[in-house]
């Protein structure tokens, strides 16, 4: 039997049971829609959560901190130029950026406004290398020049990152003079000699030469100065500096996990947006499976519907099966005809379900987005979230799965039809 003839037989058989076919297919449409909507909700939530985790930092960056002492028994590792060089030699490491965090910023003042934003000491060319983008101005060239994170000007007005509103006031600080007050607490020896030693305050006059583009939250709220300046504010020597954190840039996001593993094995503490995203994604796989299984219950009902329809229509066509066998149809050919019918129900149900759930997801997204827009003061200024998201793999999977379910539900009835005794079938009324 040729494939075209098989299709012809299948289609002409299906055409005479239109109503029953429509109802059975509707069952598959509902089953497929249930699965697609459930899983797409899982995927949509995953995407929005993982995307927002991306604000923790760039995908290829790993923040390395000195390890804890005592827990593992490993000695505490310090981050100095030797370790930086060591990191630079690691596989898949593009670049390493040591950071000196100024410990004791009292305040940064511009005229009457002030803030206590972090000051980070970083070599300016490293900032460029690590993908920090300037919205205005340039990077620092001298120790008295600073670059501000995107949110810092607003912080001078008491607005903190994440609580911005539309049309908020802002300060234009480019080229302006800022006064930093740094407190130096007495060293341990000084304290031992004279417990009454007062902390000393020093002030520095700094010029804003650049403002960064909006990036992750940590960057947005930091002020960047040079390494030497930061060391000086901390009262440390520049001869053998140690760093609070070092940022390692991997050559790809995929390499991040391996590099982190190696660093942890060395006794360092690490942090990356990527590894948190990975861990979160894993949790969401479970969420998707659970949601998909819930939708699958509707599919089981649909499968029973197909099996029932096929069994009934085969019973009604018993005599025709006898005729087909008498004129030379083999068991295998009979089986194919009925499996084909079940598969067609599956395909159309799957396609219908995909269309239905796509429309449903789009409507639900519009509805949810408009609800959110109505309840947030920014008027939905940020990008709209898709709570239901149907990726290509889900669409393909849904149709394939529905077809598979159709075939599977048709197997038993089709095998029964194929194994009918031709004489018994011919005598059937």
């Amino acid at each position: 039997m040729r494939p075209r003839d098989l299709i012809f037989l299948v289609v002409s058989n299906l055409r005479r049971m239109k109503l029953r076919l429509a109802l059975t297919t509707l069952g598959v449409v509902i089953g497929t829609s249930a699965i697609v909507l459930m899983v797409s909700l899982g995927v949509g939530l995953q995407r929005s959560v993982v995307d927002s985790l991306g604000e923790l930092g760039a995908a290829t960056h790993i923040t390395v901190m000195t390890g804890y002492e005592g827990i593992t028994g490993a000695e505490s590792k310090s981050l100095d130029d030797r370790t930086v060089a060591q990191f630079e030699d690691m596989e898949h490491v593009d670049s390493v950026m040591p950071i000196v965090t100024v410990m004791s910023v009292q305040e940064l003042a511009y005229k009457k406004n002030s803030t206590n934003a972090n000051i980070q000491g970083v070599a300016p060319h490293k900032l460029e290398e690590f993908g920090y983008k300037l919205a205005e101005g340039r990077f620092a060239r001298t120790d008295s020049e600073i670059v501000l994170g995107a949110a810092v000007p607003a912080m001078f007005l008491g607005v903190f990152p994440g609580s911005e509103t539309a049309n908020q006031p802002s300060l234009d600080l480019l080229g302006k003079r800022i006064v930093a007050t740094v407190v130096e607490y007495p060293s341990e020896e000084a304290y031992a000699q004279n417990p009454m030693t007062e902390p000393t305050e020093r002030t520095y006059k700094l010029t804003v030469v650049g403002i960064l583009e909006k990036a992750d939250m940590g960057t947005d709220s930091s002020v960047y100065t040079t390494l030497d300046a930061a060391l000086e504010y901390n009262g440390a020597t520049t001869r053998r500096p140690t760093y609070e954190t070092v940022t390692v840039k991997a050559d790809s996001a995929e390499a991040v996990a391996d590099i982190e593993k190696a660093l942890v094995a060395e006794g360092f503490q690490t942090f990356s947006a990527r590894s948190i995203q990975d861990a979160t994604s894993q949790i969401f796989i479970i969420v998707q499976v659970v949601l998909g299984a819930l939708g699958g219950i509707a599919m089981i009902v649909a499968a029973l519907g197909i099996a029932n329809t096929m069994t009934m229509s085969i019973y009604e066509r018993t005599r025709e099966i006898g005729i087909m066998k008498a004129v030379g149809a083999s068991n295998r050919q009979i089986k194919r005809v009925f499996l084909g019918e079940a598969a067609v129900i599956g395909v159309f149900g799957g396609l219908g379900g995909l269309a239905f759930s796509s429309a449903g997801a789009a409507l639900a997204n519009l509805f949810l987005q408009s609800m959110i827009a109505a309840s947030t003061p920014t008027g939905g200024a940020s990008e709209p979230t898709n709570f239901f998201y149907i990726p290509l793999w889900l669409a393909i999977f849904a149709v394939a799965f529905a077809t598979g379910i159709g075939l599977l539900s048709g197997v038993l009835p089709a095998v029964r039809a194929a194994n009918l005794d031709p004489l018994v079938a011919l005598r059937h009324e």
């Binding site: 040729r2 003839d5 005479r16 066998k325 004129v327």
Partner: protein, 231 residues
């Protein structure tokens, strides 16, 4: 003449609980190419059973049925389907056409399962329908045809594969005398072209009209073989 079908010591038993029913008790029968053989006998004597076994729809309990050199008893299901597809044609008392297919579609059906290409199939089926006088009824559904016309479609379906033998079980049983007579004329015309038939009937006049030989079966055994009216 060459042998088309050789039935040797054919036995068929049905076991119904405790009792064993001997439906065929050692039938011997040879049918030659180009021959029309009628099987007569009382109801329940085993005529249809004999036909169904020769047609590969039923399996013998013993003995051999050799068609063009192949023993049906030795064939598996797949091979038997292949045999039905290529070497026999069936005509039933109750026509047995598929109601949703046109006359042409019904006649094409054996060719579909034989894998004949669409274009060839339509030509062969149309010419078979023409040869039974239904050249103008190709697109009629069975319900749009008279009983006699339906049986003609069935005859066309039986011959379209060019089988070694055509088996007809009471082909005129559901038809009035005149219409039945037309079917018998059709069988005679096809026999004149060289086709071989094995036909069961209750009606002596039918047998006399078409048969070269008439085989009498009583209670599963051949009791007499006579020359028919055509011989």
């Amino acid at each position: 003449m060459t042998v088309a079908v050789d039935v040797r010591d054919l036995r068929k038993q049905y076991t119904m609980g405790e009792t064993v029913l001997d439906v065929l008790r050692g039938v011997d029968l040879t049918i030659e190419h180009g021959e029309v053989v009628c099987v007569m006998g009382p109801s329940g004597s085993g005529k249809s059973t004999l036909l169904n076994i020769v047609g590969g729809l039923d399996r013998p309990s013993g003995g051999a049925v050799v068609v063009d050199g192949d023993d049906l008893a030795a064939m598996d299901d797949e091979r038997l389907a292949d045999y039905r597809r290529h070497q026999v044609g069936f005509v039933f008392q109750s026509f047995n056409l598929i109601p949703t297919l046109s006359a042409l579609g019904n006649v094409e059906l054996p060719l579909v399962f034989a894998g004949v290409a669409r274009a060839d199939r339509a030509v062969q089926a149309a010419s078979a329908l023409e040869s039974v006088g239904l050249g103008l009824r190709l697109d009629h559904k069975p319900t749009e045809l008279s009983g006699g016309e339906q049986q003609r479609v069935a005859v066309a379906r039986a011959v379209v594969n060019g089988p070694a033998i055509i088996l007809a079980d009471e082909p005129t049983g559901n038809l009035d005398t005149t219409t039945g007579h037309e079917i018998l004329e059709l069988i005679k015309a096809m026999n004149a072209e060289g086709r071989t038939f094995l036909i069961t009937t209750h009606d002596r006049a039918v047998a006399e009209a078409v048969a070269h030989r008439i085989v009498y079966i009583i209670d599963g055994s051949v009791v007499k073989i006579e020359q028919g009216g055509v011989a």
